[in-house]
């Protein structure tokens, strides 16, 4: 049998598999690169490397941990010259925490075993050669390898005293302050109305006394550790005296076992996750930001899901097909493409000023009048952030719900109607359960987008540092009016608004890593729920 001339039997178009797979490979490489960079840089923040003492050819000596190494921008490409950045710490003495050094100028680099790394409450870390420490009772103990344990105990003690102090100042004094604030408003109102102020004044006086007691108490706590301090010498031989109360953590970077290093790593990681930030957010933990992000994302999902599902049900099930419906659909889809900052501006203009302002006028007019016009809801806060992001992610939920509803087999709908069910009964009993997995997919997408959004939040209630959490043990427990911290904004703030950008850089990566992990966790949770639902309806289409 002869083949027709037009059939040359060579398969056509097979090389396209290479071309198309190239697109996937590029995408995957980019994702892997991004994650790798964030992972390495993020985790290296918690790792304590060895700390060299570096001597330069001009005679300067310094002690610090290597931060980065790069080719000098002015060196020729053929003969690259390198320079290194060391984190030398002791900002109050050295002026800056980070120093760039030409590699060619380094004469000597040695790792002295007695070098000590210190994390401090203020002025960043310090790298010193310790001499002795004074304990709380005033005894001076020369520092050797054998007394290092004792020093660690002192540090531990100092941190306990700090948290004791924190408990008094934050919780108790905070509560008294809040009560005084309310009493002052009462006082001003009573004076304004010409009512008797005696009772309120007595109350204020009692609160004042309580406040003074608490302050005395906190002073007593501070005094407990007033004597304890660490005496040391920096790389240039200058004497450094550090009060024990300012030391957060001490370690011997050149004289510690791998296990100790791992312990230090996890101790820092724990601080990062569960403690509050210090030093303009460049050190300490991120607990308020993690908490704020979670609470905001959850509220946003709770707001967006019912709105989106109800809107989608109307669009898909009740609305008559026509020009208007098609226009509404186009608008909804376009809403998903509107830059998020636009939602922020809308949130500020409408939610905060109009809605919040009206709420304040209606329900908090006293507070406005007698508290220097301090707004309650008429300023950014958790509620407005959640609402703004709910509005922003609404199209995602609407589109997903509409698709899930239209994917329910027609037969099911007909069977329900033929059984005498009304449209609403059909929606409630048949369509919604069957489309639940699809709806949840939409909610997952909305959560992922909402949790990572920063720009609109900056306008409607996220702050660099919030003194209180949006959920706490003070009535009414959920404070929708409070401003809060958010991981995304935290990254922006660290990276671009920090006074010491070198010190902030590692934290940027660590926070980014955390944000990614948080979004992945939220998504995994939602995906698990979705898969459970899907398993229930497995085989629904055939």
């Amino acid at each position: 049998m002869t083949q027709p001339a037009y059939d040359n039997s060579a398969p056509k178009g097979e090389p396209w598999v290479w071309f198309t797979s190239l697109g996937l490979i590029i995408g995957l490489t980019m994702v892997a690169g991004l994650l790798g960079l964030v992972l390495i840089n993020g985790f290296s923040v918690f790792w304590a490397p060895a700390v060299p003492t570096v001597k330069l050819s001009d005679g300067t000596v310094m002690m610090g941990q290597l931060a980065q190494r790069r080719v000098r921008p002015d060196s020729p490409a053929s003969q690259p010259k390198y320079e290194r950045q060391y984190q030398v710490g002791l900002r109050e003495l050295n002026g800056a925490s980070y120093v760039w050094v030409e590699e060619a100028k380094i004469v000597q680099e040695d790792f002295a075993t007695q070098t000590m790394g210190l994390e401090r409450m203020e002025n960043g870390p310090a790298f010193v050669t310790p001499l002795a420490f004074v304990d709380a009772a005033g005894r001076r103990v020369p520092l050797t390898k054998s007394t290092f344990e004792a020093l660690l105990n002192e540090v531990e003690r100092a941190s306990e005293i700090r948290s004791e102090l924190n408990a008094i100042q934050r919780s108790k004094i905070g509560a008294v302050n809040a009560k005084m604030e309310l009493a002052r408003i009462d006082l001003r109102r009573a004076e304004d109305r010409g009512e008797s102020v005696l009772e309120i004044k007595a109350k204020l006086a009692a609160l004042d006394m309580e406040f003074n007691q608490l302050r005395a108490q906190s002073e007593k706590v501070v005094a407990k550790n007033a004597l304890a301090k660490l005496e040391a010498r920096d790389a240039r031989g200058r004497e450094v005296v550090l009060p024990m109360s300012t030391i957060v953590r001490a370690w011997l970077p050149n004289d510690m076992s791998a296990w100790d290093r791992v312990c230090l790593f996890f101790s820092r990681l724990r601080e990062f996750l569960f403690d509050e930030p210090r030093e303009a957010n460049t050190e300490g933990g991120l607990m308020p930001a993690i908490f704020g992000t979670l609470v905001m994302t959850v509220f946003m999902s709770l707001l967006v899901t019912p709105f989106g599902v109800i809107a989608a049900i109307y669009l898909r099930e009740y609305a008559k097909d026509g020009v208007i419906l098609r226009m509404v659909r186009i608008c909804v889809n376009n809403l998903a493409g509107v830059p998020s900052i636009v939602f922020g501006v809308f949130g500020l203009g409408f939610f905060v000023y109009v809605l919040g302002g009206s709420i304040d006028q209606l329900f908090f007019s006293d507070q406005l009048k007698y508290n220097n016009n301090t707004p309650v809801f008429g300023t950014g806060g958790l509620l407005w952030c959640s609402l703004t992001l709910a509005l922003m992610t609404l199209p995602v939920v609407i589109v997903a719900t509409e698709e899930a509803l239209s994917a329910v087999p027609r037969g099911m709908r007909e069977a329900s109607l033929a059984a005498g069910a009304s449209k609403w009964q059909t929606i409630r009993d048949i369509l919604l359960p069957a489309s639940a997995p699809g709806i949840l997919t939409g909610v997952i997408l909305a959560m992922a987008r909402g949790a990572g959004e920063v720009a609109p939040l900056m306008l409607v209630g996220v702050v660099k540092l919030a003194p209180t959490l949006p959920v706490d043990m003070v009535e009414p427990f959920l404070h929708f009016d409070r401003k809060f911290m958010h991981l995304g904004f935290h990254i922006y703030d660290l990276g671009f608004q920090s006074p010491d950008s070198d010190a902030a850089r590692p934290m940027v990566f660590a926070t980014t890593l955390l944000l990614i992990v948080l979004v992945v966790c939220l998504n995994l949770g939602a995906i698990t729920i979705r898969n459970r639902l899907r398993a229930r309806y497995k085989g629904a289409s055939f």
Binding site: K320, L417, D429, A540
Partner: protein
């Protein structure tokens, strides 16, 4: 021929004459948008009889069937003329709620369409949406309907399992049980066996015979043998027109119209 051949024996014409006509279709015309799907159909269905609608695809038999419980209301741009009466009352009477009509006229679809719920919940669905919450009534209805649908013995131990785990034939019988659970007067069947194997088909046909004692049944089928086996009367449609309507025996043995004869003898369609 086969075991069910004896069933072809048609009732004497006089018997169905004695029964009152339950569904009356009078000069019924129907349009999907500009397309005319049915043209001046007039046909009566007697009580507790099985009427089969046959004809080639697109002849309008399903359209007519779906008008009997106004399922076509779901389609946009439809229009009708003439009238359909059930038990002497027009189904288009503004005083009749379409929901109450559908409760009186149950329907079984071509593709079995159980809900993704348990077998029990499927069967009692119609009762639940009517507001029945008494567990005893629901249990009783579930068992009765499943027995009538000849499914009880197969599923009685797993009523709470998902209906989606049943076989194709079982699912279709479940859909029949669901359709009869709230005791409608009329049962519409739209090619109920088209996706089933011969054994399942046989079971369903047997079922139709038994259900006839309580329900008036209208069945659309593509299988001439099935129409011959299960129905008392047969209506042949072609291009939206009712060509011939008579007792099944007459249609299959001695049709008056040449088109009918050509169709049932397989010469076209």
């Amino acid at each position: 021929m086969n075991p069910s051949a004896s069933r072809i024996k048609v009732q004497p014409a006089t018997e169905s004459e004695g029964r009152k006509d339950y569904i009356r279709i009078q000069d019924f015309g129907f349009w999907y948008g500009a397309k005319k799907a049915l043209d001046a159909i007039s046909l009566d269905v007697p009580e507790q009889r099985v009427v089969a609608f046959i004809g080639p695809s697109g002849c309008g038999k399903s359209t007519l069937l779906r008008n009997l419980n106004r399922m076509n209301d779901l389609v946009d741009g439809i229009r009708h003329e003439g009238d359909i009466q059930i038990a002497g009352r027009s189904i288009y009477d503004p005083g009749i709620e379409v929901i109450s009509l559908r409760r009186r006229v149950g329907m079984v679809f071509q593709k079995s369409n159980p809900f993704p719920k348990s077998i029990y919940d499927n069967v009692v669905y119609a009762l639940r949406i009517m507001g029945v919450t008494d567990r005893a009534i629901l249990d009783e209805a579930c068992e009765t309907s499943l027995r009538k649908a000849a499914l009880w013995d197969e599923v009685k131990d797993r009523l709470n399992d998902s209906a989606l785990g049943l076989s194709g034939g079982q699912m279709q019988r479940l859909c029949i049980a669901r359709a009869i659970a709230n005791r409608p007067e009329i049962l519409l069947m739209d090619e109920p066996c088209s996706a089933l194997d011969p054994i399942a088909t046989g079971k369903i046909e047997e079922l139709i015979h038994e259900l006839k004692a309580q329900f008036t049944i209208v069945i659309v089928t593509h299988s001439m043998q099935q129409a011959a086996r299960v129905s008392d009367r047969t209506a042949f449609f072609y291009l939206g027109k009712l060509i011939e309507y008579d007792t099944t025996e007459k249609i299959f043995m001695n049709p008056t119209q040449a088109q009918t004869e050509a169709y049932i003898s397989g010469r076209f369609g």
